[in-house]
């Protein structure tokens, strides 16, 4: 560490690579925290975890006992064990006792991305509720046609306040907090939708993963979905060698006109002269698999409805877009993890080592961009895989029962996991104990699940 600090002082390494080096270093040393403890008030399995996006300070959890709770992960409520173990009790929790609370399990609990004044919960009782954090009162209710599996809000959105919800129903609904009504329904899936994720590069792009095994991309300003991922479509032979290219080009040019307007790379502020807008757009669509000529006459949005391509055999149970907005990771009930190139929609064919995943429940994945790792709940263990090679780099043994959700805080380089054993565990970079007086305290805090 001292060496890196010295190199940063003299400008030998750039400050941003300094921080990413240190982060990667710390992330590769993640282990069950020996000094930080989250005290879970839940009496059911933990289904959802999220740290707020503004301050990185408040953890929100949702559990099967219809309760949700908020913890301050920066400031402990008290200390135990000679002041060495920081206890984080929940700041408040809402459960069935709350007059307007949920009746059945909360499957999803998320923060309003702009500030911590609101949070949103989705439940198996068919309701999505919006809560005022300060008064812990429900300020808005959305009645859904079936069990709510997942609710998400766009971290980028500046012009809409939409909650996208995946439910038992085949339609994905967008609930507008601004008006308190449904903004749209997105039709295309043939079964319930367990996984929903907003794009991290465009506030209009939404990705959904259904129990029908399909992953669909929507531009919420337009009808229909604009891309359906196909597990058989890979990037092999994507860039033809010089000699072969003239033939290949013709194909791609004609294709690029087919599905036209939608893309993830939205041009942003118009004053940006060299914004990437059109470039990305056209090259994105340029590689969408060719459709038969008969279909091309249809409305591009309608056309995609007929696309029955699948991303997984079985249900799609988890989705996560990388922070840079260029790749998507999906998990399916076929116990596969797949990495997709978002620009082209190709299956990258990265071979993730065999895992066993929960099949009946949505799982929440987490990504560490610095180290290019994805954290996947694999039954009772959380495993970290290298995104590019698919190799498992770390395994986190700690939960007694299946893990449902994980959240990675890049700011603190900490991983939070919640499972059916009703525990929320904190995994943090191991810290050598430097105190002169405290030898022997920590042994009993070690990985106690093995």
């Amino acid at each position: 560490m001292w060496k890196e600090i010295g190199d940063r002082e003299m400008g030998k390494i750039r400050p941003n690579s300094f921080s990413s080096q240190i982060k990667s270093n710390r992330i590769s040393n993640l282990q069950l925290s020996n000094n930080k403890d989250i005290v879970s008030p839940h009496r059911g399995s933990i289904n959802s975890l999220q740290v707020d996006l503004t301050e990185g300070r408040y953890l929100l959890s949702g559990a099967s006992d219809a309760s949700a709770a908020v913890y301050d992960i920066q400031r402990p409520t008290n200390y135990e064990g000679n002041g060495l173990i920081a206890k984080h009790k929940c700041l408040f929790s809402v459960d069935k006792q709350h007059g307007k609370g949920h009746k059945y399990a909360i499957s999803s609990a998320i923060w309003y991305p702009v500030d911590t004044g609101l949070f949103v919960t989705g439940s198996y009782d068919h309701y999505i509720k919006v809560w005022d954090t300060n008064s812990t009162q429900v300020v808005m209710n959305f009645k859904m046609p079936g069990k709510v599996y997942r609710t998400v809000m766009s971290p980028l959105a500046t012009s809409h306040m939409l909650i996208a919800a995946g439910t038992e129903d085949v339609q994905v609904r967008l609930c507008d907090i601004a008006s308190g009504a449904f903004a749209h329904t997105l039709s295309g899936h043939r079964d319930g939708v367990m996984a929903v994720e907003w794009s991290t590069s465009s506030e209009w792009a939404l990705i959904t993963g259904g129990c029908d095994g399909a992953i669909r991309f929507w531009d919420i300003r337009r009808a229909g979905c604009f891309l359906v991922l196909d597990q058989s479509q890979s990037q092999l032979g994507w860039r033809p060698p010089v000699l072969a290219r003239s033939a290949a080009n013709k194909v791609s040019v004609s294709k690029s006109l087919s599905a036209g307007q939608n893309s993830l790379g939205k041009p942003r502020a118009p004053q940006k002269k060299y914004a990437n807008g059109h470039g990305v757009k056209q090259s994105t669509i340029g590689r969408v698999p060719a459709k038969s000529s008969a279909r091309q006459r249809l409305h591009p949005g309608m056309l995609s409805i007929q696309d029955r391509a699948t991303a997984h055999y079985g249900a799609v149970t988890g989705l996560k877009v990388t922070d840079d907005g260029m790749y998507l990771l999906s998990a399916g009930s076929d116990s596969r993890i797949k990495l997709w190139d978002l620009e082209s929609g190709y299956n990258t064919l990265v071979n993730f080592e065999m895992v066993r995943l929960q099949t009946s429940k949505a799982i929440q994945l987490a990504i560490s961009q610095e180290t290019a790792q994805v954290f996947v709940p694999c039954m009772t263990v959380v495993k970290a895989f290298d995104i590019w090679s698919g190799k498992m780099s770390l395994a986190f043994h700690g939960h007694y029962e299946s893990v449902n959700c994980c959240w990675f805080s890049s700011q603190d380089q900490e991983l939070y996991t919640g499972g059916n054993d009703r525990q929320i565990l904190v995994w943090s970079p191991c810290e050598p104990i430097t105190d002169d007086m405290d030898a022997g305290h920590t042994k009993d805090q070690d990985n106690w699940s093995d």
Binding site: M1, W2, K3, I5, G6, R8, E9, M10, G11, K12, R14, P15, N16, S17, F18, S19, S20, I22, N25, E55, R57, Q74, G83, L84, A86, S201, R239, P240, P241, V242, R245, S252, V253, L264, G265, R268, Q271, K272, K273, Y274, A275, N276, H278, G279, V280, Q282, S283, G286, D324, G325, M326, D341, Q369, S389, Q411, P432, I433, T434, D435, D436
Partner: protein, 1054 residues
Amino acid sequence: MSVWNYVVTAHKPTNVTHSCVGNFTSPQELNLIVAKCTRIEISLLTQQGLQPMLDVPIYGRIATLELFRPHGETQDFLFISTERYKLCVLQWDAETSELITRAMGDVSDRIGRPTDNGQIGIIDPDCRLIGLHLYDGLFKVIPFDNRGQLKEAFNIRLEELQVLDIKFLYGCLKPTIVVLYQDNKDARHVKTYEVALKEKDFVEGPWSQNNLDNGADLLIPVPPPLCGVLIIGEETIVYCSANAFKAIPIKPSITKAYGRVDADGSRYLLGDHAGLLHLLVITHEKEKVTGLKIELLGETSIASTISYLDNAFVFIGSSYGDSQLIKLNLQPDAKGSFVEVLDTYVNLGPIVDFCVVDLERQGQGQVVTCSGAYKDGSLRIVRNGIGINEQASVELQGIKGMWSLRSSTDDPFDTFLVVSFISETRILAMNLEDVLEETEIDGFNSQVQTLFCHDVVYNQLVQVTSSSVRLVSSISRELWDEWSAPSGYSINVATANATQILLATGGGHLVYLEFGDGKLAEVKHAQLEYEISCLDINPIGENPNSSQLAAIGMWTDISVRIFSLPHLNLITKEQLGGEIIPRSISYLLCALGDGHLLNFQLNLSSGELTDRKKVSLGTQPITLRTFSSKNSTHVFAASDRPTVIYSSNKKLLYSNVNLKEVSHMCPFNSAAFPDSLAIAKEGELTIGTIDDIQKLHIRTIPLGEHARRICHQEQSRTFAICSLKTQSSADESEMHLIRLMDDQTFDFISTYPLDTFEYGCSILSCSFSDDTNVYYCVGTAYVLPEENEPTKGRILVFVVEDGKLQLIAEKETKGAVYSLNAFNGKLLAAINQKIQLYKWMLREDGTRELQSECGHHGHILALYVQTRGDFIVVGDLMKSISLLIYKHEEGAIEERARDYNANWMSAVEILDDDIYLGAENNFNLFTVRKNSEGTTDEERGRLEVVGEYHLGEFVNRFRHGSLVMRSPDSDYIFLEKLQSSLRKVIKGVGGLSHEQWRSFNNEKRTAEAKNFLDGDLIESFLDLSRGKMEEISKAVNVSVEELSKRVEELTRLH
């Protein structure tokens, strides 16, 4: 105290990051363009060397700098991109000598993660497109249209994840890039891609090469006719093209920079990490490459950029040492080096630590920095103002004037020093023993006061007294001719150059004489309406011996007039206004009796005066005198605050001279005292040399090793530094030392070597309660190769005895001691995650030891610590600032408040009881305030962010202190208004916005700067034209004069 902060640059950046050579200012002129972090400097190559043309700030950290020439243009354009994703194309406007913006834009993307290895910006050799690699996995293309205009940009997906370098290949039909990258298994390869502009995609290129040297880091594209690319590794250099592959092994080295020598690309200069300069030659038969050869040329500063200028002249830009202009000789010198250093350009960076000291005890701070790195490490003593190094002095009271004279016209040195008093004139001369003694010049009248003296052509001297002008031979020293003032009139003022003399007598008579060989001829006489107060005919323009213009200051109407010579026709008249009398004029400067100085632009051909500016130099009458130093002419303004006036970058600059009061001054360049000045001050005549003319004076103490930490101990008059010495042998072993230096001579007087793997991390001079001694405390860390984070360190306590470091006590710690502070008579150390307080205990046997008292956990790494009273401010590796308090009764340290933002800190300082300043990893500054009046625990426990600002420089250390004696109070609200008006009037180079540049920016968010003022922008008010000043004056509703005065006061801050 106010929450406002005024940030101003005392010394411009000196670290050369980029450089390029081309025909930028005109098709015939060859320019060197140098980027120094946030500035670019354009200079012209002349016979005499590099001549500066323009030095401008860029509102951004320069990430890439390239010259290119679009089709149909006769000179080059400059392409710049900044680290905050702005880019601009600049063109030289020969008429105004300014930069015009051809194009500008923002190339940031929402998707993508910024590259770790820095940005790459390259231009196709055939000018078809600009290529940018800014984010991992993306290659941005900005195509040119047929007229050389930029078209809309697009991104191409780059599948190689870890890109090390990208270059365009020469001689390809379609624009083709070559990519050097590292794969998942850490092997390195190159690959080529053609850019298909129409399809906006890549097509596999003509060739690729797998499994290169593991240290391959740099690509050099080879121009036609050879084409292809050179791949520079740590152990091999490879030439690669579609049909050839040649490799040679080299001595292990990391090549940092290259410069192409020939246009055909057969020779290259390579600069490595140890500062060795190599010549790489591609041997070829016609267009077929036959091999590579490499030859060591010699040693330079560690190069960050190399630009081959012309005729074996090379510019070496350095980030770690001084930049250099070198010449490559055909024959090696005695040491076998082909490198001859012609000029060096001071570089203070990287400053890893510094201390503010008052060595002369004058109340004026000096900064001693740990500068440079590796072999170019040095200490630099930076102080404000220009020093006079006294060589000799004589006690002489009542000096009224001084002039130096030569013994013959061709003599390069001055011999005589004429010193005039109220009723006599004395002549001093250098005798054969180089001692100044009184002498006689027979032809001079020494019984009266001398008004003026000068050397005259044909080996003559002239003396002007109130009654006559005496022309004297400088060889025989006899009077040759004399012109007497008409009876009843006496000469009041006179001035002369080598061929002309102008004098004024009472009654407004102006007489113009010319010197002949042994003769004085009255050429012209004029009668003016008022008495004349001062005159000047200093030659300006082509002829160094005579002037076409005369400047004349008048009493009564207080005006300055420009007359033509020899006809004495009035050209311009300028009213100076006020009740002050012009006393002394040197071409465009006009000094007033109340210490003010007016300056004008003087048009040489027409004699017109424009651009009037007024500055205040002191309160006493000023006398002006020109002198030259280092081939340029400066003006010395003698008054109660002596100042040197000089011009740089097309504007006049004023530098304080570090002397109290000077009544007269004249240059005195004698053989014994070359380039000296004779200075009359407070009853004393001093002869001394003057420092280089610049505002801040920098003295360099080369160490040959890398100083990392410094501190000063006043009691022992020593500095102690932690330094590391790199063994010159190839195995790169390092030695870490604690050095003691004398604070006057800067000699090493004692050295304490640290253990193997032990690094010095912090150093402090302090004393403890119940002990009168002053100690040096040093914190160390054992940095073991297998450990991520040090788990062991030491605190060493030294006392200086007989000029030696004596180890008094040592205490082992469980981690690196990142910081040490004196705290309530105890020692506060930051050790890894912990803050630890140590008591200084007396043992029974009379020896002393450090004993730990209490500590505080809960940091990721406590890197930077400052204390004030019982408060401790900690800057964490990644968790911003926290405030701790020491509770005496409980003997415990507790957290009081913290800032919950995730700032990666690089320095902290306490501004006052409530406000703390921090610098973070993304070149930002911010201030936080303690909120003791908060109503809830939550509020009290949170440090409120009150100020944010993008500095654009990486801050390693804050220290309290000042380079000047006093600092004025400022009205920040007014200054903010002024700043926002200036933003509208001053356009950033390349159309970059000042507001955006100064906005706080990190990975998570961007926020407008608040409670910080950019002093550099505010002070640039003084450089504006009158028209623009008036525009601003209107906007802020304050007169131009008042504005100038207030801004000038601010410039005195530094």
